[in-house]
């Protein structure tokens, strides 16, 4: 589904990612772990097509197409979804209204009929129930005045409604208490399917107790220094990230 080859990304004239290579197949869950400042979120935002993250080298192929050739909105309509680490508050834009526009933009792109208000409401209610989202949240402005936990839950709710092929979760666990973490994880797990892939970006192993990954990659200083199975996350939990400082430098060459 996704092939990343030697991806280099620059932000503000500073290269953050120095060549990432990663292959994600449909049905897989990949976790990207790493200390603060390692480039995890840069990787997520570059995949989503943030205009401030300039790709200076490498290729990204998504479903056989050049992902880097698409603007953020086209990527989204093609099924790429990023759950934001810091969801943006947008006063005056109704959450449900926005989500309906987003879903219908995608459906139109896929040649499907747009959902009318009734069908959309039914769909929202169904998804809201699964994620224990208060229906009042749907009628408020997008993320405005939401607590940290509500924002993250709203991101997963958007994901559930938009049903992406590739979902990138950027530190979705940060700021969540244990109950919210469980609900969000249940939402994600319910969406796991043979034709959908997840990239879960996280600092902590805790999330991976709930969303069990097939692969774990460790990012340090802009390069992937280790890849392995779930046991790698447990090892990180035990040892922390400090061991990277010695092995990380060697891995970059």
């Amino acid at each position: 589904m996704l092939d990343v080859k030697n991806l280099k990304v620059r932000v503000d004239d500073k290269e953050i990612l120095h060549g990432i290579t990663l292959s994600v197949k449909a049905g897989e869950v990949h976790a990207i772990m790493g200390p603060n400042g390692s480039g995890k979120s840069t990787f997520a935002r570059a995949l989503a097509g943030h205009p401030g993250y300039e790709v200076t080298g490498g290729q990204v192929t998504y479903k056989g197409r050049d992902l880097l050739d698409m603007d953020a909105d086209e990527r989204a309509r093609e099924g790429v979804f990023m759950a934001f680490q810091y969801p943006v508050e947008i006063p005056g834009v109704n959450n449900a209204y926005f989500l309906k526009a987003a879903l219908n933009a995608k459906r139109k792109h896929q040649g499907l009929e747009e959902l009318d208000a009734m069908d959309f409401m039914a769909l929202m209610k169904e998804k809201a129930k699964i994620l224990d989202v208060d229906e009042k949240m749907l009628q408020r402005s997008v993320n405005e005045g939401f607590s940290g936990g509500e924002k993250k839950r709203n991101e997963i709710f958007h994901m559930a409604v938009l049903e992406p092929s590739l979902a990138v979760l950027d530190e979705t666990d940060s700021g969540l208490d244990i109950d919210a973490l469980r609900i969000v994880s249940q939402g994600v797990n319910a969406m796991r399917s043979p034709d959908r892939a997840f990239i879960v970006v996280t600092h902590y192993q805790r999330l991976l107790n709930y969303i069990v990954p097939d692969f774990v990659h460790v990012l340090s200083d802009g390069v992937l220094v280790r890849s392995g199975g779930r046991e790698l996350a447990l090892e990180l939990e035990e040892k922390g990230y400090s061991w990277l400082e010695t092995s990380g430098a060697g891995a970059r060459t």
Partner: protein
């Protein structure tokens, strides 16, 4: 001219005429006109519009609000034939000023040309000098008028540049309630000068909502004075939406004259090309315990210019005043400009006055968020612009009038804001 007008009308006309002859058109050397050059108006020497233009009926029909009482003013004259008073409820009287001015019982003599100072408002003086006809709306005390009143002001010389001086006077008796909208309109592409004056007298405990929908021809000059006095516990709300005219100047002034009076003064203005939108508002807190809330939002594309001057005066006696003013503008191009100037003059010491001004571009992080969920750049931008104006639109409580104003504004957004040129290429850091 009002033939055999009562002496008091003649006197006020003569006074205004003398004042305008003395002061003339304002120039940019005057503080109140520092950023707005009205020389193109002064130089044009437009003849006074006369007669009924060809397109008047079509223009009026194009803005008809179902269920509303309709009053048409064409080239400054009350046009009974294009008006529809069928839905006029009891307790509200509508009169052409020409005829109504003879009736001493309505309070016309007491209020006409008395709600503002001709010295401070040169264009209102000019309007008064040409005072001939117009409309008076008189609401009897205690009457709640549920049917909205829609005034359609048409200016047209059938292609020939003309000037008109439309005039409206609203007198709301104690504890009455009325909602009025005024649509200023002309034929697209026509050059003309519309110089309007609207005076509103809000009685004790009365509630008056006044919506202004300025959608003149994009080549027109539009100057409007909207001036209100609010008595104790009265409520006045002005909501002005401006999408038309090459040069627009609004002077909206409200005097809070009785304790417990409340004023809302909101607006949205939108311009592209090299058009100019100048809004001068003035809130005079003359007595204690009054409240005022003001929100203006501007959207400027191309080389458009805007001026916002928000004056709040809190007189020495006006303790416990609560006044809030916000002006926000979005500049959608590098060449659009705004001069935003809050002007607080506070002479009392126990008051709450806040003001804020913010000028910026569209929030690129919000743009990215919307795009990352699948909306195109144009769709995302429209959604943010609608949301920006939405705060003011939500204040329109009369559904029939709100629908039309909202539609005008959003179609103007599509007309004026060209996605390929209006936005800066979204580079972010």
């Amino acid at each position: 001219m009002i033939t055999s007008a009562p002496t008091w009308v003649d006197e006020r006309r003569a006074q205004a005429s003398a004042q305008f002859a003395k002061a003339g058109f304002p120039t940019m050397r005057q503080e109140e006109w520092r950023f707005t050059n009205v020389a193109p108006i002064a130089a044009s020497n437009f003849p006074l519009a006369t007669g009924a233009p060809r397109h008047a009926a079509a223009l009026v029909a194009g803005v008809t609000v179902p269920g509303a009482v309709r009053l048409a003013i064409v080239n400054g004259q009350f046009a009974a034939g294009l008006s529809d008073l069928g839905a006029l409820p009891k307790g509200i009287r509508i009169a052409g000023l020409r005829d109504g001015a003879r009736d001493a019982t309505d309070g016309l003599e007491q209020h006409l040309a008395k709600v503002f100072s001709i010295d401070a408002h040169p264009f209102a003086a000019l309007n008064t000098a040409f005072l001939d006809d117009g409309v008076a709306i008189i609401v009897t005390g205690g009457v709640v008028v549920d049917t909205p009143v829609h005034i359609v002001v048409v200016t047209s010389g059938d292609g020939t540049p003309v000037v008109a001086h439309p005039r409206v006077l609203v007198i709301a008796g104690a504890n009455s309630r009325v909602g009025i909208a005024q649509t200023f309109i002309g034929a697209a592409g026509d050059v003309y000068f519309n110089n309007a004056v609207t005076e509103v007298v809000v009685g004790e405990g009365a509630i008056v909502e006044l919506y202004t929908d300025q959608r003149e021809s994009e080549k027109a000059f539009h100057v409007a004075n909207i001036q209100a006095h609010v008595a104790a516990k009265g409520v006045f709300a002005s909501h002005a939406f401006s999408t038309g005219a090459r040069i627009m100047r609004h002077d909206i002034g409200v005097g809070l004259k009785g304790e417990g009076a409340d004023c809302t003064m909101n607006g949205v203005y939108l311009a592209d090309g090299d058009r100019l939108m100048d809004t001068h508002t003035s809130l005079d807190h003359a007595v204690p315990h009054c409240t005022s809330h003001e929100i203006y939002k501007g959207i400027l594309a191309g080389k458009a210019k805007a001026v916002f001057n928000g004056r709040i005066i809190v007189r020495m006696d006006a303790q416990k005043t609560d006044a809030k003013q916000t002006n926000r503008a979005l500049l959608l191009s590098d060449e659009a400009t705004i001069n935003s100037n809050p002007q607080l003059e506070i002479f009392a010491d126990d008051v709450k006055c806040t003001h804020g001004a913010a000028v910026g571009q569209l929030d690129e992080e919000a743009m990215f968020y919307l795009q990352a969920r699948g909306l195109t750049r144009t769709e995302a931008r429209d959604m943010l612009l609608h949301a920006f104006a939405g705060e003011v639109i939500e204040g329109l409580k009369i559904p029939a009038l709100r629908g039309q104003i909202e539609a005008t504004l959003f179609s103007a957004l599509e007309r004026d804001v060209n996605p390929s040129t209006a936005l800066r290429a979204g580079s972010l850091s």
